[in-house]
Symmetry: C2
């Protein structure tokens, strides 16, 4: 069934109305009266609805049943990624959403080649959030991950350290692995931090350590900056049985 | 240290010579006499060398020590991917190489929208193999994965079924998971088969089942056709301790 993401106020007891882009999308899909659709408003519930009316720019729905969304992971995983070059962040946002990330947070780091200026950032965030929304819809998520951008590395470390299991992936760490970190700390919130093309500096690793982040390897092969966060996120989901 | 992939006959006892693209690449990197480099010839060994001579189009090397490559996974994992649209296969080849795939094999499937004709396939394979070589070099692999293309789905199923643990990932399977398959069959060779944008047909699933492939879910979220093989490969590598 097609899933539509709506704001929480759209579901009003037994009735709901699709408008704007959602109504256009329904029209493109040639949905008609009697067809079933699923409404998600990010509250972890699936609202199964039938279409009762199709009008110009508006689709009337009747809520038939409300079920807990079975596609939201039991582990909340935040993905912190240093601003990469080109459109790699868009790629990571799309894939991390499919794979079950709870939040995707971009931050500047010493070796970042590109970081958007504050002027362009507003527009970019809007675009990134749309990519997350579209990937959430396509993959059947019950929630759209939030996409954010922070001002500094220190701010990112501070926020990441608030997860029960805060992890930083570092190519120069040789012993302590992500699996070690997951086994050592059974919990429900994990943050994963990965660096830019040139990697983190030793100074940054020191700051992260002092804030309580666990410095982990992802194995002997060097992963590109856009591969590492998705590899780590997949490993977390596998560990928590979320790929079962 | 910079890694160079060479054909096995280049390493000749204690001496070796870089020519062609490798010599050009060494020049771009401004390598000079006395610098250390690593030669890989796909035999699972790392040849640590010093540069003894730099000439036009030729770099002379002296082999200092030979060590087993520590970056090759202990599990041999073949990735079978139905021909996807656009340049998604290139993306998967690059990422699967970084993540440790042993072979990447493309095949046609009933719902494939695009499949290269035999005329263009030769050139494409050459290009794909170069992408794998470049990713192997960058990620520090001791071996370049082979990239192949098969003529039919049946041929792919036959080849995949020869792995000790042959797995097909299917979005309509709800119970048996990749983790189940990995736990049920401890082994050293795994094949992972994933479908095109529109998924496998029930007829194809039947053929695969009859050939002994295990039909597995990757969890409740629907992954895009380019995300599924990388997700499955990462899960296998994590399971085998290859991300430690």
């Amino acid at each position: 069934m097609t899933r539509f993401f709506v704001s929480p106020d759209v579901v009003n007891g037994k009735f709901a109305v699709l408008t704007g882009e959602n109504a256009t999308h329904a029209k493109v899909l040639r949905l008609k009266e009697g067809d079933m659709v699923v409404l998600c408003c990010g509250d972890g519930q699936d609202y199964n609805c039938t279409i009762s009316h199709v009008a110009q720019g508006q689709i009337g729905l009747v809520v038939q049943e409300t079920l807990p969304s079975h596609t939201e992971p039991s582990v909340r995983c935040q993905v912190f990624m240093a601003f990469p070059k080109a459109d790699k962040l868009e790629h990571v946002i799309q894939k991390a959403t499919e794979l079950g990330a709870d939040e995707i947070i971009a931050f500047p780091s010493q070796r970042c080649v590109s970081r958007p200026d504050s002027k362009s950032l507003g527009k970019k965030l809007e675009r990134w959030q749309k990519i997350a929304a579209s990937a959430a819809e396509q993959s059947g998520r019950g929630q759209i991950p939030t996409v954010r951008a922070l001002e500094s590395f220190r701010e990112a470390v501070k926020l990441a350290s608030q997860a029960e299991n805060p992890v930083l992936l570092y190519e120069n760490e040789e012993n302590y692995s992500l699996k070690n970190a997951l086994e050592d700390t059974p919990c429900k919130t994990v943050s994963l931090m990965t660096g830019p093309e040139g990697g983190f500096t030793t100074e940054e690793i020191q700051i992260a350590k002092e804030a309580g982040l666990k410095i982990c390897t992802l194995g002997p092969r060097i992963l590109r900056c856009e591969t590492a966060p998705l590899c780590a996120l997949t490993a977390v989901m596998f560990f928590y049985g979320e790929l079962d």
